[in-house]
């Protein structure tokens, strides 16, 4: 047998190697499919530190600064997105998230109505190997409460005045308006046991004025191909 192998020409050797490799590949399934491997302990640690949370005022600051080093993703349906969405957000409904072709190393900030879908999506993405995934803490609810319609004090102290000024300007940037603390408290007292008083209707989305020199968050992709 060894003698016969040694007498093979180059072409015959190549052909034999090809056929053997091809036969061995008969049972190959090279596409990864949708099964994932989770490192439960590592993820539990990350969840515990809350390092993956982004607070609403923080996100507001990033948008105002025109930061383009992250992608803001709205996980809700197209209809909900059309009604209102955080400016600069991109709509990727949660059920098509894995097909969206997001880069594995891209910084992603997810939000949904409250936080359930963003938490579930966070888990899905982390399990698939996305390294830099964050959630908007409290989702759109918190965004509405803290950024668009923030609460400002009626008789502010010096410290509260600076804080409220900032809240006012941020809220104006996003087309909202502040609510007075007493009105909020009165509303809560008048309806004990009920949820917080209805916030005014969210403003039509107006893309915030891009600060001078700011870059678009998602560059128009050039045609890839051959």
């Amino acid at each position: 047998m060894a003698g016969r192998l040694a007498r093979l020409t180059l072409h015959q050797t190549l052909a034999l190697a090809a056929v053997l490799l091809g036969a061995a590949a008969l049972f190959a399934s090279p596409y990864p499919g949708s099964r994932v491997t989770l490192d439960a302990k590592a993820l539990a640690l990350v969840i515990g530190t809350e390092a993956d949370h982004v607070e609403a005022p923080e996100l507001a600051a990033w948008i105002i600064q025109g930061r383009a080093d992250y992608r803001l993703i709205d996980l809700r349906s197209e209809a909900e997105f059309a009604t209102y969405h955080i400016p600069t957000a991109q709509n990727i409904p949660v059920n098509v998230l894995t097909d969206a072709g997001l880069g594995r190393q891209e910084k992603l900030v997810l939000y949904s109505e409250g936080g359930i879908h963003s938490a579930q999506a966070w888990m899905l993405l982390r399990a698939q190997g996305y390294a830099s995934v964050y959630m908007l803490k409290g989702g759109l609810d918190e965004w509405t409460d803290q950024v668009v319609f923030p609460v400002v004090a009626d008789n502010p102290t010096a410290a509260e005045r600076t804080r409220d000024e900032r809240r006012r300007s941020i809220s104006a940037f996003f087309g909202g308006q502040p609510r007075s603390a007493s009105a909020v408290a009165a509303g809560a007292a008048a309806m004990p046991g009920m949820a917080a008083p209805a916030t005014p209707a969210l403003p039509k989305v107006v893309a915030p004025p891009t600060p001078a020199g700011g870059s678009k968050p998602a560059a128009k992709k050039r045609k890839e191909g051959c």
Binding site: L10, L14, A219, K221, R222, K223, G225, C226
Partner: protein
Amino acid sequence: MNPYLAGIGLGLVLLAAFVLVGRGLGATGAFNAVIAWAVSTVAPEHARNNEFIAGYLGDEGTSPLKSWLLFEVAGLFAGAMFSGLLAGRVRVTTEKGPRVSVRVRLAMAFAGGVLMAFGAALARGCTSGQALTGGALLNLGSWAFMLMVFAGAYAVAYFFRWQWR
């Protein structure tokens, strides 16, 4: 070089592209990038309005010349020249058969290029991008394309044999 060994070399280069960059080889896209750049420099409005060209312009901020394929084709040029120099196969000449004049041959070459461009544009690639790359990835459209290239070529080869004999 033995065609099979050259093929293995080519295959490994292609594999390297897959592993390193997640895409295959190509050539046509480089030509598109240059055209997009040229048109956008001379007539920017026209470039933006032309849907085909606009696709290669992408973001207003990046030059269309920063195209992966353009750099790859530049490397192709260099690599081919290097191999040619090594083998002493570099000389200024026109490849043609004995019974055809240089002028006619060059005219045919130009015509071939024009046809090739149309074919490659429609098919989204040429033999490098579609046949090699798509072939290795078992891409359905690429294999169909490859078959058609051989079919089309064999169908008309008889009628152009005067160029080479």
